[in-house]
C-alpha cells in the first residue's frame, strides 16, 4: 500500500480528517524548508505538500506568488527540492509527501527522469496545476510506472459530466479546489462544502482533500466535517512573510510560530467531528 493510501486508511480508522500543511521549497532558504518539514509531523501534519516554485504561477494569489519568487531566489530547483525530500525521508518514512507545481519545470527536467528521481527520493504524489487530464498522459504514464500518484484537481466549475473525465484513472486522493479563484484569496462557505463534497464523493472512492482559502482552525474544522483532509498554504506563508528581516531571512523563532499555527490547525481538524457518530 502506498504511503498516501496507508495514511488515509489510518485516518479513517481514527474517524477523523487529516491536515496537509504546505511549504514552498526554499522559501526563503533551504534550511527553513528543511526545519519546517522536520517539525510538521510532530505538530500534527498528516500529509505534507511542497510547492515547486515557478516564475509564472497562474493559479496562485500574491502570497504564494511571492513565496515562489523567494524560493527561486533561495535556490529552489527540482533537483534541490527532491534532495530536501530525500533528507526528510531519512527520518520519516510514513508521512506522505506531495509535490505541487506547474508543468514547465518538470518538462524541462525530463518527465521520465523526474518521475524516477521523485519516486526514489520518497515523493508519493504530484499535483500539476496546469496539466488537465486532457494533456496528462505524458506524465501519467511514467508516474504510474514509478508508483507516484498523479493527484487530480476538481473545481466548483467541474460539472457532473466532466467529473467522470477528471476522475478517470485518478489515484491517491482528489484535491477539491473549494473556490473559483486563485490561492489565498477567498474562503468557501461550509454550506458550499456540504453540497460540493458529496458530489465529488459520488464519483470516486478516493479520499477528498480540500484546499484554497483554508486559513484558520475554524475553516479547517469546517473542511474536516465534510472532507478527508484540509490543505493550508497561504495562511502559513503569510506568517513567514510577516517575519522576514530586511535581508529577507526568517527572524528567529518564526519556525516555532509556524509550527504552533500548524498545531492549532491540527487541533481544529481533530476536534471537528467530536460529538458526531463515528
Amino acid at each position: 500500500m502506498s504511503r498516501i493510501a496507508a495514511r488515509f486508511a489510518a485516518l479513517k480508522r481514527e474517524g477523523r480528517a487529516g491536515l496537509i500543511p504546505f511549504v514552498e521549497a526554499c522559501d526563503p532558504d533551504r534550511a527553513t524548508t528543511e526545519a519546517l518539514l522536520a517539525g510538521f509531523p510532530g505538530a500534527g501534519a498528516d500529509l505534507i505538500e511542497i510547492g515547486m516554485p515557478f516564475t509564472d504561477p497562474m493559479a496562485d494569489g500574491p502570497t504564494v506568488q511571492r513565496a515562489g519568487q523567494r524560493g527561486l531566489k533561495g535556490g529552489a530547483t527540482l533537483g534541490v527540492t527532491l534532495d530536501i525530500v530525500r533528507g526528510f525521508r531519512r527520518k520519516d518514512d510514513a508521512t506522505p509527501i506531495v509535490l505541487m507545481g506547474y508543468y514547465n519545470p518538470i518538462l524541462s527536467y525530463g518527465v521520465e527522469r523526474f518521475c524516477d528521481d521523485a519516486a526514489s527520493a520518497g515523493v508519493d504524489g504530484l499535483i500539476v496545476v496546469d496539466l488537465p487530464p486532457e494533456e496528462a498522459e505524458e506524465l501519467a504514464v511514467p508516474a504510474g510506472r514509478t508508483k507516484l500518484d498523479l493527484i487530480r484537481l476538481v473545481a466548483p466549475t467541474t460539472h457532473a459530466e466532466r467529473l467522470k473525465v477528471v476522475l478517470q484513472g485518478a489515484s491517491g486522493f482528489v484535491y477539491y479546489v473549494s473556490i473559483t479563484g486563485i490561492t489565498g484569496t477567498r474562503t468557501a462557505t461550509e454550506e458550499h462544502l456540504r453540497e460540493a463534497i458529496p458530489r465529488v464523493r459520488a464519483a470516486t472512492d478516493l479520499p477528498v482533500a480540500v484546499g484554497f482559502g483554508v486559513r484558520t482552525p475554524e475553516h479547517a474544522a469546517a473542511v474536516a466535517r465534510h472532507a478527508d483532509a484540509a490543505v493550508v498554504a497561504s495562511a502559513l506563508i503569510d506568517t513567514m512573510a510577516a517575519n522576514l528581516d530586511e535581508a529577507g531571512r526568517l527572524k528567529p523563532g518564526t519556525i516555532e510560530t509556524v509550527l504552533d499555527q500548524v498545531r492549532a490547525l491540527a487541533a481544529g481538524v481533530r476536534g471537528a467531528r467530536v460529538g458526531r457518530a463515528a
Binding site: D56, P132, I182
Partner: protein
C-alpha cells in the same frame, strides 16, 4: 482547381487543439470547463452565416477593410531589387491589425452571453483595440498591463481610459506582457461566470490560437486577392514580424499550401541574439508550457521563464503562438531575427521614402525586407505586413535617437 492539397498545412489544429506536439490546453481545472465552452461557442459561430456576416460588416464599415495593398515604389528603387508591397493594416481603425481579432471575439463574447471583458496588453495596441470594441458594444472591460509597460506606453494607457476601460498595472514578476497575461488568467479563474478573456495573439489554450488566426487571416486573404488583381500573381516572399505571432499568422495562413511562396517570420533580436536580451523564442528558445499552450519559450536550464527584451513592446514576449512552433519545426516558415538597431534604421527609411511612420513591430519586418530585397530579381515580389502605425512609438524612437521632445 481550388482543391486543398493532399497534405494541407491549413487544416490544423486537431480536435484537441494540437499543432503537432504544440498547442493544447494547459490550464487549471477551474478554467477547463470554460475553455471547452469557448471552443463549442466558436465552432457553433463558425457555422453560422449570420456571425460571419456581422463580422464582415464591422470589418468593412467600422475597421475600414479591406486595408490597401501598397506598392512601395521609392523604397523598392532605393533597395534596388525585389518589388516591396505593403499590406497596410496600420490604416485600420485604432492603428493596427489587433482590431480584426477583437471584432471577432467581442461578437463571440456577446453570443456567449458574457457581460464583462478582460484582456492583457503589452504595447497597449491590443488593449486599445479591446477597449474600443467594448465601448462599441457597451461592455465593461479591464485591461491588465505590466507596470513597466504602463510607464513606457502612457499615451495608449490614456487612450484605454478615455475609451472607458479600467487599466490595472501588474507589478508581479517583471511587470511586462507575460505577467499581464498571468494576471488576466487569474482574474478569469476568479470570474468564470460572467467574464470573457479576449486574448490578443495566437497563443493561449485552444481554441484561441486557431480562433485568433482565423480572425486575422482576413489579412492574407485580402492581400492575396489584391496582389492577384494588381500583379496577376502570388508573392515570392511574405514577411511579417513575430511577437506572439498574430499578424504573421494572419498573413501566412492563406499561403501555407502555396509551395512557391517563401514565408519569413521576423523575431526581435533586441540587443543581439547572443546578448541574452532579446525576444527570439524560436531562434533561441526551446519547447515548453506557458499560458495554456505548449510552444517555444525563452527559459533557463530549469524551465523557469526568462524575460524577453525588445525595443518594441509588442514583440517583448518570451513565447510564441504554437502554430509558429509547428511551422518552424516543419521548416515551412523561416524564422529570422532583427535587432533593435536594425529596426530603428528601417523605421526611419520607411518614414522618409514612403511617408509612412511604421510601428516598431513592422519595422522589424521591414529590416528583414531590406536584407533580402537587394539580392532578389527586380520582378520578384515581397509582400510585407505593415501591421501597425508608429504614432505610439515616437517617444521610444526619440529616446533611442537621443532626441529630446
Amino acid at each position: 482547381m481550388n482543391k486543398p492539397l493532399p497534405n494541407s498545412l491549413r487544416t490544423g489544429p486537431d480536435e484537441r487543439g494540437h499543432f503537432g506536439i504544440f498547442g493544447g490546453r494547459y490550464v487549471a481545472e477551474t478554467l477547463m470547463p470554460l475553455i471547452l465552452e469557448v471552443e463549442r461557442a466558436y465552432e457553433d459561430a463558425k457555422r453560422d452565416p449570420a456571425f460571419d456576416a456581422e463580422f464582415r460588416r464591422l470589418l468593412t464599415h467600422y475597421v475600414g477593410r479591406p486595408s490597401p495593398l501598397w506598392f512601395a515604389e521609392r523604397l523598392t528603387a532605393q533597395l534596388g531589387g525585389a518589388q516591396v508591397w505593403f499590406k497596410r493594416d496600420e490604416l485600420n481603425h485604432t492603428g493596427a491589425h489587433k482590431i480584426n481579432n477583437c471584432i471577432g471575439q467581442i461578437l463571440l463574447a456577446r453570443r456567449m452571453g458574457k457581460t464583462r471583458i478582460i484582456a492583457e496588453t503589452g504595447a497597449g495596441q491590443h488593449g486599445v483595440a479591446t477597449a474600443t470594441v467594448c465601448a462599441l458594444f457597451g461592455l465593461p472591460c479591464t485591461i491588465y498591463m505590466g507596470a513597466t509597460d504602463v510607464a513606457r506606453q502612457s499615451p495608449n494607457v490614456f487612450r484605454m481610459k478615455l475609451l472607458g476601460a479600467e487599466v490595472k498595472p501588474v507589478i508581479s514578476g517583471a511587470a511586462t506582457l507575460k505577467d499581464a497575461m498571468n494576471e488576466a488568467l487569474r482574474d478569469w479563474v476568479a470570474n468564470v461566470a460572467d467574464t470573457y478573456y479576449l486574448i490578443g495573439t495566437v497563443a493561449g489554450p485552444h481554441p484561441y490560437p486557431a480562433m485568433v488566426r482565423d480572425f486575422q487571416s482576413v489579412i492574407g486573404t485580402e492581400a492575396r486577392a489584391q496582389l492577384d488583381a494588381a500583379a496577376g500573381r502570388l508573392p515570392d516572399v511574405c514577411v511579417a514580424a513575430i511577437g506572439g505571432g498574430s499578424n504573421a499568422m494572419g498573413l501566412f495562413h492563406p499561403f501555407l499550401d502555396d509551395a512557391s511562396v517563401r514565408l519569413v517570420g521576423v523575431e526581435a533580436a533586441g540587443h543581439g541574439l547572443d546578448s541574452g536580451q532579446h525576444a527570439a523564442s524560436l531562434s533561441r528558445g526551446r519547447p515548453g508550457v506557458l499560458h495554456g499552450n505548449r510552444t517555444y519559450l525563452l527559459q533557463d536550464e530549469h524551465g523557469q521563464i526568462l524575460e524577453a527584451h525588445s525595443i518594441s513592446a509588442g514583440l517583448d514576449y518570451p513565447g510564441v503562438g504554437p502554430e509558429h512552433s509547428w511551422l518552424h519545426e516543419l521548416g515551412r516558415v523561416e524564422y529570422v531575427a532583427v535587432t533593435d538597431t536594425e529596426a530603428l534604421e528601417a523605421f526611419q527609411l520607411c518614414t522618409r521614402t514612403e511617408g509612412i511612420i511604421p510601428a516598431l513591430e513592422p519595422a522589424h519586418a521591414l529590416a528583414q525586407v531590406m536584407k533580402m530585397a537587394p539580392a532578389m530579381d527586380r520582378d520578384a515580389i515581397i509582400l510585407m505586413n505593415l501591421c501597425g502605425r508608429g504614432d505610439k512609438d515616437i517617444f521610444t524612437v526619440a529616446e533611442a535617437l537621443g532626441v529630446k521632445l
